[in-house]
């Protein structure tokens, strides 16, 4: 009896626990929909609904990053009791692939934070030791940072040290720092305003920074529109790199005409047409530098610069590269505001995917190696309290299947993870870009199952069919994708193939025609009319 009861209660417990587990599982599977409608652009450059390539995984704020360790006296990372335990207006984030660490330039708190790949705090830097006279802290003797706007982390090719390049904006300097420990950094080189005739700006406010393998340092400086300021590894100014061009608008053309007839005094009074400085840049594994320009421009919105500073994605040579929202001046009826694209950050992932962040709409545009749009995700929300929406997206980083978005107002990091659809897309694009069209077929088919309007899938399938000499299918796919150039190529092959197969028939038809013509000519010469009746009737 008693055993039975125990058994019964055990049973009950089991049922209860399974029910609880089931409900838990249910609550997990009933994942909230993304706070945005996924879309893509079709052949006619019109937005078309699509599947989500990414979904929101979670958001981490200062609490989740263990920033309270900074206020714990027993902790090795302790700073002071009243140290800020949240981010404040952070403007840049960098992922160090080698050590799998995140670095954040916590601009508002004038510090640099270091995290492991799970976003747990492992280091903090408020200033650096070394030969500097700028902003010296009286108690610690360190040269403190002031509102750093950008950073870049790498292993120095010459010394092998963990090196951080920091754009120390308000201190008007850029730094090359050698990281000594979790809290200590040492200044290797200090880059200040170049004392050079070529550098004509009064101020030197570095916003973003990069360094290439030869340890040349590129600095995006506020209100310098001649390109990135370039320094050699010893700290000397070497010039500018990859300036933007002026976007040709009607106003610019009109002004150029006026300049031809205006007097010198009048020309002085005119507004100068200067290019827009770029907002941010990133470097891929091959050393190409990618830049984004924040102001709404079509010329040079995103550039891929080779080491000589020439833009590879140049529309003026006849290509058609488009970035961000294609329609300029999007209107949102619910908030009664109109948006225009403002690309603020770019990230080239290890997998070659390029993510471009639009500050104005909070959208992330993902492109493949050849600047083809893969998917669009994330959004800005005026209420900003919904998970997965951002208020002022400042930086983007990619780590494997995840995309990290740093928000400068909500002071958190939103993590997006690729969906099944996204995974198929990435596989397919990767294979496609390698030219392995046939291998990509399975992935494209999965993509089409989920989004039948995905144009690239049809192009991919068409190329695979063309490779396998299935011309009818290829023509069909290219027509669906409205890809005239590839259709043309396929048509050429299909036509040659058709001619080859039906060569005998062609020859016979031509021979018969020739014979008929000869017979007709002979008959005419001899005055024999085959159709006599009609001629008589007409008479």
């Amino acid at each position: 009896m008693r055993i039975n009861r125990i058994k019964n209660s055990a049973k009950k417990l089991l049922i209860l626990s399974t029910a609880a587990a089931a409900s838990l599982a249910m609550s997990l599977t009933a994942f909230a929909d993304e706070p945005y409608n996924s879309y893509s652009y079709d052949t006619w450059d019109e937005p078309i609904p699509s599947q989500s390539g990414y979904r929101v995984e979670r958001t981490i704020n200062g609490d989740g990053m263990d920033l309270q360790r900074l206020t714990d006296p027993s902790d090795p990372l302790f700073v002071s009791e009243d140290a800020a335990v949240g981010l404040s207006g952070a403007r840049d984030m960098f992922y160090d692939e080698e050590r799998e660490e995140f670095w954040i330039a916590d601009t508002g708190n004038s510090r640099v934070l270091r995290f492991n790949k799970d976003f747990q705090l492992i280091g903090r830097y408020y200033g650096a030791d070394g030969e500097s006279e700028i902003n010296i802290d009286e108690t610690t003797g360190l040269s403190n940072f002031m509102e750093p706007g950008g950073l870049f982390v790498t292993t120095s090719p010459s010394t092998g040290d963990l090196t951080v390049y920091l754009a120390d904006t308000e201190n008007a300097r850029a730094l090359r720092l050698k990281i000594v420990s979790e809290t200590e950094a040492e200044i290797v080189t200090e880059f200040t305003r170049p004392d050079n005739g070529l550098y004509s700006n009064e101020t030197f406010m570095p916003n973003k920074i990069l360094a290439d393998n030869a340890e040349n340092v590129y600095v995006v400086v506020r209100s310098v529109n001649s390109g990135a300021v370039q320094f050699s590894s010893d700290g000397s100014f070497t010039g500018y790199y990859g300036a933007n061009r002026v976007q040709v608008t009607a106003a610019v053309i009109a002004q150029n005409l006026w300049r031809k007839i205006a007097s010198n005094e009048q020309i002085e009074g005119m507004r100068r047409n200067v290019p827009v400085e770029y907002a941010n840049f990133d470097m891929d594994d091959d050393g190409f530098i990618y830049t984004v320009t924040e102001t709404n421009v079509e010329t040079d919105a995103v550039k891929k610069l080779n080491p000589a500073g020439y833009n590879i994605w140049d529309n003026s040579v006849g290509d058609k590269y488009e970035f961000g929202d294609i329609i300029s001046g999007l209107y949102d009826a619910t908030t009664n505001t109109s948006y225009s694209t403002r690309l603020t950050d770019i990230d080239i992932g290890a997998n070659g995917l390029m993510n471009v962040l639009d500050y104005e709409t909070g959208r992330v545009f993902q492109y493949d190696r050849n600047a083809r749009l893969i998917c669009i995700f994330s959004t800005k929300n005026s209420t900003s309290d919904q998970k997965g929406t951002v208020t002022s997206p400042n930086a983007i980083e990619t780590v494997g299947r995840r995309v990290f978005l740093l928000d400068g107002t909500k002071n958190d990091v939103t993590i997006f993870v690729e969906t099944a659809f996204g995974a198929y897309l990435h596989n397919a694009f990767e294979l496609y870009d390698q030219g392995r069209y046939t291998d990509a077929v399975a992935d494209w088919k999965e993509v089409i199952k989920r989004d039948g309007c995905y144009t690239m899938a049809y192009i991919g399938l068409g190329k695979a069919a063309l490779n396998n000499e299935e011309f009818t299918e290829a023509l069909d796919y290219f027509k669906t994708a409205y890809d005239q150039d590839d259709y043309d190529k396929a048509f050429k092959y299909a036509r040659d193939d058709f001619m080859r197969e039906n060569f005998t028939a062609f020859v016979i038809v031509i021979l018969v025609l020739i014979v008929l013509l000869i017979v007709r000519a002979v008959l005419k010469k001899k005055g024999i009319k085959l159709i006599k009746k009609k001629a008589k009737e007409a008479e």
Binding site: K479, K492, R495
Partner: protein, 209 residues
């Protein structure tokens, strides 16, 4: 001499651009029915150029195909041309009648239509590298039709060459004016309709109380 059927006359004027229309006028030939058919064919050619052109050449591939603009571009433009020219021939001392202008203009359009159909046909067998053939045939048609149109107007009104050109340019201006007035009239009538309709609704509400 010059005893042809209706189609024979058409063939004669097309292949004799210099004298053809004069002969046509001399013999008082030309069929209004045939010219209407040609205008219809012009419309069909325009549709074919957009729908049946080989995909690799088709520049007009749109999401939504609308036939109304094509109808305007062929039939409406043709008749405004005829009316505009007829209206001007009084000012320029032309001898043509409305019927003659209509017939002669339509006959002059035939090479354009035929070459259009031929280039549409060939575009289905050629690739972009060989686009020159399609374009050559197409432009040949246009050129031929322009020459014929000048000759047609010259013969129709018994103008000199310079006067023909001037009258044709003025006809284009007249076409613009006609279309402008037509649109004005249309919007006026639309406003009138809206006015009438609003009075009707007002009264209807009041009666219902």
């Amino acid at each position: 001499m010059y005893e042809f059927t209706t189609l024979g006359w058409l063939k004669h004027v097309i292949f004799h651009p210099v004298e053809g229309f004069e002969d046509l006028r001399w013999k008082k030939q030309g069929s209004l029915k045939l010219s209407m058919l040609i205008v219809l064919l012009l419309f069909i050619e325009m549709v074919a150029e957009r729908r049946l052109m080989g995909f690799q050449f088709n520049m007009a591939y749109t999401k939504v195909f609308n036939v109304v603009p094509l109808l305007v571009q062929s039939v409406v433009y043709f008749f405004t041309w005829v009316i505009g020219n007829w209206a001007l021939c009084t000012l320029f001392d032309g001898e043509g009648t409305l019927k003659k202008i209509c017939i002669y203009s339509a006959y002059a359009l035939v090479p354009y239509i035929v070459c259009g159909f031929i280039s549409v046909f060939f575009s289905n067998f050629l690739v972009q590298d060989e686009a020159i053939w399609v374009n050559a045939i197409y432009y040949l048609g246009i050129g031929w039709s322009v020459v014929l149109m000048i000759q047609a107007m010259k013969a129709c009104h018994q103008y000199t060459f310079t006067k023909t050109i001037i009258s044709m340019i003025f006809t284009l201006v007249a076409m613009l004016l006609i279309l402008f007035l037509a649109i004005l009239l249309l919007s006026l009538f639309q406003q009138l309709y809206v006015f009438g309709y609003s009075i009707y609704t007002e009264i209807a509400y009041r009666i219902r109380g």
